[in-house]
Symmetry: D2
Subunit: 372 residues, 4 copies
């Protein structure tokens, strides 16, 4: 990358990566791992080298699923030391409820009651781990909460089980005084054939039915004051789950996303949930991580330019300007409603008002490519 | 169709069609209309002929957008007479906020304040119309509530406008004593490039932020007690909005849907939001309508057979059976939580429990094709 | 399954499975293997048990990539013995050019010339292996022939490399007298972000540019006399590569496919390239295999019923009937062309001819569900 | 737009638009036309105003389907005059075989023999028209050549009919001495539920089966020397047919496309098959047209910069470098084949060679956003 300082990552940018992202070994459904295992403490050092601020983790990214208590404690101690020495924080923790075969039919929604109990136990232990490392966001991704055939259970039963599990975990959070915010993460149709909570919208509908809705948000979401965490990556549509370098598939979508986060003053971590191409070695993994952060900063600068562009702002103002005679609809009243019903609108003339969105969008393209 | 009585539609099945479905003229983005206009009163007669129970409508399916008051009253009078003579009811009404050019930038979320006011006025008048015809469900489909470029407005502003509009309409509903339930209908990515409320999940998240959430539900939805209306049709995935004859693209998905509606005791209308192929004339439109209802009834019978199948039920029971020693997770307590943390799970043996879902799904296929 | 003999698999049905299908261990991008390894000789016995006719294989399904010559020979000897004892044939062989990290940037199209040479060598050895086992179809799937970024090579260069490789292998086929037909297999967008030959159509365009086009066909294809092999499975659209039990996602699509194969008198193997759900153990794998074959036979019977249905055949005949005055367009001549230009067509009356396809399709549904 | 001359369209860029693109009235499946009709002669003037070079047309974009001979001749005369006065050429012509209801079941593949004959006649007349206007490319888009249900005809029969039709038209081309190149245009799944020739690959496989394959190519295609025409626009994946302003949905894909056309020295027209947002009036249509051309020229300049970038070129050279001992595979010989089989490859060391594609792709991003 060029050495222009404006695009160098700094702690105030709150750029974080998961252990599973830099540590990704490039295995896929048709191919073996292409990179050797990176121990967590080495990933922490690598994050410091490329200029990141934080590291996130699933329980088993750090502690093997069958480690005993003494092993677990040693591993955690060494990891905390590495974080401290490298100036890396742990903003978020999560739990793997998808990798082990025990979860092949789901975790919180599995038919087998023993699996459901074990999934809760494992999550509680992962919450303990995250709290010990200083995390205050806990992400839940229900990767196995779905089916291959609707024959095996009714969807409404499954969602009841999910609700009970999240309620249980909120109580544990209170009981232990951990102060976590939970962020529920949706992902459509992989790895199960049909996933119950396929979109963030589904979770936004689910949260108000919980016992402690104020404690639970989503990853990610826009308007409802519920954006507790965000995963940044990229994806070519209609493909499997690619997790490409941020901005590498669609620069313009990435631009609108960065602009949104900066416009609303998002204060949380900018977490990259992505991984390097399978063609890369560990040097290439660093290129990948640097590229994620650099593209974010390039787009952040362009968002500021867009907001400051006079022609753009003039268009936006013009298309939203009210006319003096437009009936007020801000608050309902019987009288106002009668006035609205009585008002004669000139539909044809309204339909002719100019809305120069092609121009607006081309100005955006010009800014994006540096031609303005 | 064969004349087997079990699959003949009857009023208790509550099969309804929209005026726009039987009246669809087969226009598409690349082709002209292929069928002549059917006047609403003739559609009502056709519905009676094929054995349907109800008819639904957008305001402008019945009353042209520029009809004056006298014309409007005459049209409504004749339509009520036709419904009454043919024994057809009007369970649902809705409003077109998408066809006229005035809505080219949205209706409730448009940038132009005058468009937003006009959209409210038009909806109030459509509510008046529906109430006069006896409807108690009012559907809102935000077909134009979206953008071609994110440059033209911020998504969070748009959703605020949408919320204010629905709140306003709820007040009007109360004020007029109409007793409507509102059903919000999602549809992804058509006709705008990006639609704000692309899934039912998005609406389920939106509803709790309203002033009168109890008055507002979705079309369609499963578990949250919010299923106020349902549209039945079919679709080949990854295509434009096809609205094919119910069950004609994927019989098995249609089966699970019918089974769900019957299992939960859904009491509302079975509304077919579909239309005949462009190759059909009006005789073919009747074939289309008969086929929708017949396939529903065929699948309803198969759902009953599935529920009564001993092998299927035995499998379902077996896969969900608890073991005596599984810790109880039904309600949270500190003590129960400690017991759960202390419990030693045998992960390997749990992972080996048999889950014969291939067999279960093949039994479903056997029932579907009549081989069982 | 019910014991009705008509739907029991027999050798004349030519049902085959890949070693990788019954042997699939249920690993996915987010989860570990759920079933123990099945040795190839046990898979052969299992195939005999469920009534299959043939077994297909990649080189490394049978012989590990780093086996030496003596190991290879012993493995092949034992496998041939198992096939012979169980009455199972090997109709098709193929080569893995996707699993080993050496192919992470492609095989025949890789940038590294050494990878391209190695890929050829490995394929020649797999051809030797298949010939020894009696296969006469050799499938090539270019799973890694693609890119994550177009920056790394030009697509036209890649396709030139692919052409040279296939030409080379055809020469080897001639030189060794193996008598193989090559079947090129397309698969869109997985595992690479963009795959060069994403559809069968791409391969049909590619084949005529080869040195020996008569030796090369596709897997699968319909009209061009090039259907050398077929993979049967199922898939919910818009998902990752699911390889579900045949007919389990969309019965109607499966029906049209079976009908097509039977109508054209396809003589090749009916090969199931699918695998059991991750929830299954080895008993469930047998359920899966039996279900694939049973559904094929159920649909084959329904295809015969469809072809024999008088109402269906009458509709088909009626919609295709010529009128005596229609100009003949069978062969071009200047005179005929002038006559055609001079003919006055009555567009409006042609557009009114009835095409009762809704009825035709509903009759198909009735046959499929056993209601006719 | 800024007035920087480098990005102003000039005749040598060969930018063309269809009458149907600037003349698009913004009708869609859910909405009425939003812009008044633009007469063809005014579109020609508008094209001259924005700096385009050519105009393309369907027969009925210019001549109404039921115009008589005298009307047709007058319209053509006036149009030629407008083209000549405005310095606009007609590089390509095509025929509408999709709009009129007569084609509701297909044109060349329709079941009704009279429709097939009429489709040929109409195409011959459109070829006459195009030849009179100076076009030397004739595009065929089979928009209706498909089905809603496979019940209505066999796909192999349909493709036979299509082949006969194209053969017939090639003979007419020869007979009349028109010198056309035919370009076959694919488009997946719209407006029919399933279209026979859904991809360019399908057409590339179809062309070699024709009587005059040298006369027929595709629109568009890359490597086979068959790129006779190209349509430029943009599209958000997984949506209906959007035809957005070139480069407005995915700048990076547009960049690779422009780079490819310039790298291979494509000499044909750069034809924009797109249209303005429904929110635009005729001034906005000009913005749209200017934006298409400007973005093409911006990306063309960036492609030149990419090709001249030393770091990029060094990486490309390095990753493709052969080693001296790699066996030669350029041409097959029995001896070379034995040498290849005997060569010992070091798989592990090959798999470790660095392929810095993340870096390469990020350099591309840097160039695209103007940060390099």
């Amino acid at each position: 990358m060029t050495s222009d300082g404006a695009y160098e990552p700094k702690p105030e940018h709150k750029f974080s990566f998961g252990l599973w992202t830099l540590g990704n070994r490039g295995r896929d459904p048709f191919g073996d791992a292409v990179r050797p295992t990176l121990p967590p403490v080495e990933i922490v050092a690598m994050l410091a080298e490329v200029g990141a601020w934080g590291v996130n983790l699933h329980d088993n990214d750090l502690v093997p699923i069958d480690a005993n208590g003494a092993e677990r404690d040693r591993i955690v101690r060494e990891f905390k030391k590495a974080c401290s020495e490298n100036g890396i924080v742990v903003p978020m923790a999560t739990v793997s409820l998808f990798y082990d075969p025990v979860f092949r039919d789901g975790a919180f929604t599995a038919n087998d009651p023993e699996v459901r109990a074990y999934a809760l136990q494992k999550t509680m232990q992962a919450m303990d781990l995250g709290a010990e490392l200083g995390a205050n966001i806990f992400v839940l991704w229900g990767g196995r909460e779905g089916v291959e055939t609707d024959a095996c259970r009714r969807a409404d039963d499954a969602i009841k089980r999910l609700r009970e599990a999240v309620n249980f975990l909120c109580e544990y959070n209170i009981d232990q005084g951990y102060g976590y915010k939970f962020a529920l993460e949706a992902k459509p149709n992989e790895p199960r054939a049909d996933i119950y909570m396929a979109t963030t919208g589904h979770y936004l509908g689910f949260i108000p039915t919980l016992a402690h809705p104020e404690m639970v948000g989503v990853n990610p979401e826009w308007e409802a004051g519920k954006l507790f965490h965000i995963d940044l990556n990229d994806q070519m549509p209609g493909r499997y789950d690619q997790d490409l370098r941020f901005g590498s598939a669609n620069l313009k979508s990435a631009f609108w996303l960065v602009k949104f986060l900066e416009d609303v003053g998002y204060q949380g971590p900018r977490h990259f949930d992505a991984h390097a191409y399978r063609t890369e070695n560990h040097e290439g993994v660093k290129d990948f991580a640097r590229g994620c952060m650099r593209t974010y900063l390039l787009l952040k600068q362009k968002a500021a330019q867009w907001n400051a562009d006079r022609e753009i702002q003039a268009i936006l103002q013009e298309v939203s300007r009210p006319t003096p005679e437009t009936p007020c609809i801000a608050n309902y009243s019987s009288q106002g409603s009668r006035a609205l019903l009585a008002h004669a609108f000139n539909r044809a003339s309204i339909a002719k008002k100019r809305l120069p969105y092609e121009r607006l969008d081309q100005l955006t393209v010009d800014i994006l490519v540096g031609a303005r």
